[in-house]
């Protein structure tokens, strides 16, 4: 069976690094793996989504409506935006973090109230994790992405511990490896 995971959030939150680590870890666990992402315009503070799929044999790198097993959200509004990608029995792992889009910041639009409530209204299997808080405790909000991967890891045990570690070592700059391994560990124990 192919597993399909959507990672979504805002440009600058480390989404592409996170999906790289996840797909590398899947590859090191012996799976066929594919991921998709979009560059360019979308990175200037716009919404960003990356999709990862792994299994025996994967064809499409892209996930369409109703195909995702898991949505991993780095910003809660972005989970709502992508909710139609989730399977009816899919799962959401989200950090309770709000970033105002520019139209909201300028007072031209409004950020909806109770976003987590809206997610729960549509999805029965929701895990709210305070990854941003953990990252701030670790002294660097930028490792939120790897804390989130730690939180994800318990839900996909087919990806092995050593594979995660190998992927993190390969994908983050040398001097941040220890920090990221700690962030991952903290994420594992979060849920």
């Amino acid at each position: 069976m192919t597993k399909s995971i959507v990672i979504c959030g805002v440009g600058g939150q480390g989404i592409l690094v996170a999906s790289d680590i996840l797909s590398l870890a899947a590859m090191y666990s012996g799976f066929d793996a594919k991921k998709s992402e979009v560059h360019g315009m979308s990175q200037r503070g716009g919404d960003v989504i990356s999709t990862v799929r792994y299994g025996e044999k994967v064809y499409s790198p892209l996930i369409g409506e109703g195909m995702a097993d898991i949505i991993l959200g780095f910003e809660k509004l972005e989970v709502l935006r992508n909710l139609s990608l989730l399977k009816p029995d899919g799962k959401v792992i989200v950090t309770d973090f709000r970033l105002d889009p520019l139209p909201v910041a300028c007072g031209l639009d409004e950020y909806p109230d109770d976003v987590i409530g809206w997610i729960k209204k549509n999805v029965s299997d929701v895990h709210v994790v305070d990854a941003v808080k953990v990252a701030v405790e670790l002294g660097n909000i930028r490792v939120t992405n790897v804390v989130m991967l730690g939180a994800l890891s318990g839900h996909i045990p087919e990806i092995k511990k050593e594979a995660w570690e190998q992927a993190i070592r390969e994908r983050v700059p040398q001097k941040y490896v220890d920090l990221n391994l700690t962030a991952f560990e903290r994420g594992c124990n979060i849920s």
Binding site: Y59, G66, L80, P103, A105, P112
Partner: protein, 581 residues
């Protein structure tokens, strides 16, 4: 050895394994990382060319002199390079010549959804289409061999989903290919009409030989399955169709041009019904129909936008629209991309808006100046268009006041790409346009590539730097002013003065892209709550670091770079620097 590579990285790897000597490109999403990856290989000369046309000319020069050469560009880049492409089809290739084009169905970061398979057909060159990274690597390597064997440029077409998807690739080693000795051959390389007539005959005969090659090409393959349903698909659409119709028979097309018609006939004779699954135009579908074979295609599959497995399933009736998840949602505000906090473009657009100017625009990060709250751009057509557009508008505007409101706004990289010719045209034909060149010392939009104005090469080495001011003065334009884009007063004065002039002038707001200053420690600004009246004027600056908290403005200290634009805008003096501790 296995690696997880993007399609773009795989193309670079394939070129390297295939012994490429020269790689040229002008950046453009989704193609940019091809040359970035290729420039990591020390055996290969790589360059950022000023535009796609020049890149193809340099690469074909290398091919004339016996080397293997590759160019890479986004789909619209090939419009710029189309002129040499059509001639090069006749001239052919001595060293292998490969042209990689990256199309963008869905327009993730492009102005149109053009389908560059049409170029292969009209320029009469072969086209290969990988459907994952492994194929991207293999096909690029093979393209050099096809090019030399058949004396032709070869096109490799990727799409955003091939370029920017990663999948597992089996790596190979580099095969060194010696540069052939240069042999003069004017009948081949000087396309005088007399020579070209002969070469055209050669081209038609070459395409027939290539068609036979395509019929046998192992990656054009029939996968036997259920004889009730046959699917013909190329590129990533093949992957989507495999998800949706795991049992069907497939004809996977990888060399789409010249069209392998016998293979298609053979496939058609084995299956009862045929569906062609492809993105963009009905390119394959029309070829199949020409054979008198009935197919389902664009009557069901959308012409507009990108496909995905769900879309394929729904439009072909495998899944019902009603079965798709329809979450119950509140109003979700859009999250459009925006100019970064501290962006040197922001101030210029504030002045343009305030002076109510008509700004013909161009392509780059600064196109975001179109969006609210800046609303400061009137047109954007293609790279370099701003200057000609402004001149053309002014030609026919009778009202002098209105005419003098027109300015052209163009980025530095875009100016070198194709703004220079527009400026010369304007000067020569007695235009009076004020041209604003936003000089942020880089090609920011596509991820900060160097260009002639920075004087650094694609390999990060020292090249020669073109002096913008000298260049423009050299044309004969006398009024050229370099200004500080963070000083609204200076900007306003200079722009006001220059638009009144009955002569052309160029204003160059110059400061490095704020993302190039990442290592710097910025002192942020803060709102003095007692002085803030909640008038929201600062929100109009268009800086993502400013928002309202209750009825007071607030500046995010982590995002703020201390550029002072908001301070200069605040009517109540309510913004100051945070004191350094």
């Amino acid at each position: 050895m296995k690696a997880l590579l993007s399609g773009n990285e795989a193309v670079a790897r394939g070129a390297w394994e295939g012994g490429v000597h020269v790689g040229c490109a002008y950046p453009g999403t989704p193609s940019t990382e091809i040359m970035e990856a290729l420039s990591q290989y020390p055996e290969v000369y790589t360059e950022w060319s000023v535009n796609e046309k020049v890149s193809l000319e340099v690469a074909s020069g290398a091919s004339f002199a016996g080397a293997r050469a590759m160019v890479a560009m986004k789909h619209v880049g090939l419009n710029v390079a189309a002129d040499p492409l059509f001639s090069l089809s006749y001239i052919g290739a001595t060293g292998g010549l490969v042209i990689v084009t990256c199309d963008d169905p869905g327009m993730h970061s492009s102005q149109n959804e053009q389908d560059n398979r049409h170029y292969a057909r009209s320029a009469k060159v072969p086209l290969l289409e990988p459907s994952d990274s492994q194929e991207a690597k293999e096909f690029t390597r093979l393209a050099f061999e096809i090019s030399e064997e058949f004396d032709t440029p070869v096109m490799v077409r990727l799409t955003t989903r091939i370029s920017h998807s990663k999948s597992i690739v089996e790596l190979g080693e580099r095969k060194e290919v010696p540069v052939k000795e240069y042999v003069k051959d004017v009948k081949k390389r000087v396309i005088l009409p007399a020579h070209a007539r002969e070469r055209h005959g050669f081209v038609e005969e070459r395409m027939e030989r290539l068609r036979k090659y395509a019929e046998e090409f192992p990656y054009n393959r029939i996968e036997e399955g259920d004889p009730e349903l046959g699917i013909i698909a190329d590129s990533v659409a093949y992957m989507y169709a495999k998800e949706v119709f795991p049992e069907a028979s497939f004809l996977k097309l990888s060399m789409v041009w010249p069209f392998p018609r016998e293979l298609v006939r053979r496939f058609a004779s084995k299956v009862k019904k045929i569906i062609v699954v492809e993105e963009n135009d009905p390119f394959i579908e029309e070829q199949v129909r020409l054979l008198g074979i009935e197919v389902t295609g664009k009557d069901k599959i959308p012409l507009v936008g990108e496909l995905n497995p769900t879309r394929v399933a729904v439009c072909l009736g495998v899944k019902k629209e009603e079965e798709l998840p329809k979450p119950e949602l509140p109003h979700i505000p859009k999250r459009p991309p925006a100019l970064c906090p501290g962006c040197p473009h922001t101030g210029v657009f504030n002045v343009i808006r305030k002076l109510k100017l008509i700004a013909t625009g161009d392509i780059g990060c600064y196109t975001l100046g179109t969006l609210p709250p800046l609303n400061a751009m009137d047109t954007c057509v293609e790279m370099g268009a701003s200057i000609g557009n402004a001149f053309g508008m002014q030609l026919v505007m009778k009202d002098d006041k209105l005419r003098k409101k027109v300015v052209a706004v163009i980025g530095d990289s875009t100016f070198f790409h194709s703004g220079i010719t527009g400026l010369i045209n304007l000067y020569y034909n007695r235009g009076i346009t004020t041209v604003i060149i936003l000089d942020n010392r880089t090609t920011a939009m596509t991820g900060h590539q160097d260009h002639p104005g920075t004087g650094k090469t694609a390999k990060g080495e020292k090249g020669r730097e073109v002096d913008l001011v000298k260049l423009i003065k050299g044309i004969g334009i006398e009024h050229v002013y370099v200004v500080n884009p963070y000083d609204l007063k200076e900007l306003t004065e200079v722009i006001k003065r220059e638009i009144e002039r009955e002569e052309p002038s160029v204003i160059i707001p110059r400061a490095p892209c704020v993302l190039l200053r990442r290592g710097e420690k910025f002192t942020p600004m803060r709102v003095i709550e007692d002085k803030c009246t909640g008038c929201r004027v600062c929100l109009k600056v268009g800086c993502p670091a400013i928002s309202m908290r209750g009825d007071k403005a607030r500046i995010d200290p982590f995002l703020c770079t201390g550029c002072t634009l908001c301070q200069q805008t605040c009517p109540f003096g309510a913004i100051e620097f945070v004191e350094e501790k």
